[in-house]
């Protein structure tokens, strides 16, 4: 099916709250959580998307989470993405296993990595994380303990000079050299560093 046909079919078959647009990845359906199961059933039955590829979540910071599902039609050779925005305070969705059996382990992983609940899932136990693991690692506010605990070797200045943030005296006792911009390791937010 061409993207235009898919958009037209969605316009006919799903409520107007479900927005549908086409981009370079394929067709993306933005689904409010209340219409999640209806949209998945529509994708499976009406859009012929019989191949379930993956289900995961995106941490959108202040906008909450977004659960994304990628399904594909083997006969029609078209990709469909379904995205459901969820509030940050209590994110949950009904389980997709009633429509796509393969979502079972994907939902388990999304549950342990982001803390998103899936109502009706038969066995929502942790899949990849060891027993007793605390926290949800793929959330953006999860601190990587290793990067917080180890001192970055690049924090030293060439020549063992004092780190930026302090005026330093020039050799020979002449006027001090002004402080430079503070430098930190890449991909480590402020506030993590060694205690």
């Amino acid at each position: 099916m061409a993207p235009e046909e898919i958009i037209a079919a969605v316009g006919d078959g799903l409520p107007p709250e479900v927005r549908c647009e086409a981009d370079h990845r394929g067709v993306v359906l933005r689904v409010p959580p209340g219409h999640w199961l209806a949209a998945l059933a529509f994708a499976r039955e009406r859009l012929d998307c019989d191949f379930f590829d993956w289900l995961t979540a995106v941490d959108e910071a202040d906008e909450g989470f977004s659960v994304v599902v990628h399904v594909y039609s083997l006969a029609g050779r078209h990709h469909v993405l379904l995205a459901a925005p969820l509030p940050r305070s209590s994110p949950w969705l009904p389980t997709a296993t009633g429509i796509y059996r393969g979502a079972a382990w994907h939902e388990r992983e999304t549950h342990e990595m982001f803390g998103i609940g899936f109502d009706g899932h038969p066995h929502l136990a942790p899949l990849l994380l060891p027993d007793g693991f605390e926290g949800h690692p793929l959330r953006k506010d999860f601190v990587l303990a290793a990067r917080a605990a180890k001192e970055w070797p690049g924090v030293k200045e060439p020549g063992g000079r004092p780190e930026p943030g302090a005026d330093r005296p020039a050799p020979g006792g002449e006027r001090p050299v002004p402080r430079a911009r503070r430098r930190g390791p890449p991909h480590v937010p402020d506030g993590w560093g060694p205690a």
Binding site: R101, L128, P130, L144, A146
Partner: protein, 152 residues
């Protein structure tokens, strides 16, 4: 189409019924042979497989014994660590442990991950560390030679 007459996915046969580590015997010459138990956990496992399939001929060693070498090749995650330890304890004596590749040595490129064990020596005693990412198959043979020499 009807959706779901399929069962939910599950581990086949339940825990403890999967295949154990592959056992390959390497002729070290001089009457000594190494039985290599390869725990090929990730990409390094391909290099170990390449090394052991080549029918390696190591230099002549004068000891006449048979030694069991437990090779950990690949990233050890915190979830998998207890099973790696069980596989190590199942290795018959006399046994040595060879840690193959950066992930098994120290966590390697995944040292900062939330779920990677920073080196297999966190929970089993290691005799030889082979550096590399991944090490060449010839580096495994050099590491096995070091296992023999270190044991004397």
């Amino acid at each position: 189409m009807a959706a779901v007459d399929l069962p939910l996915p599950d581990v086949a046969g339940g825990p403890g019924t999967g295949p154990g580590p592959g056992v390959i015997t390497v002729d070290a010459g001089g009457g000594c042979s190494l039985r290599v138990f390869d725990a090929g956990l990730a990409c390094c496992g391909v290099e170990v497989a390449a090394a052991l399939r080549r029918g390696a001929a190591l230099a002549t060693v004068t000891t006449g014994k048979q030694l069991n070498v437990f090779v950990v090749a690949g990233t050890v995650t915190d979830k998998l660590a207890p099973y790696v330890r069980e596989a190590f304890l199942d290795t018959p004596l006399p046994r040595r442990v060879l840690s193959f590749g950066a992930c098994a040595n120290s966590g390697g490129p995944y040292w900062d991950s939330y779920c990677v064990t920073k080196g297999v020596d966190q929970f089993i005693p290691v005799d030889v560390y082979v550096p590399g990412c991944p090490p060449r198959p010839e580096a495994l043979l050099a590491g096995l030679m070091l296992v023999l020499r270190a044991g004397e």
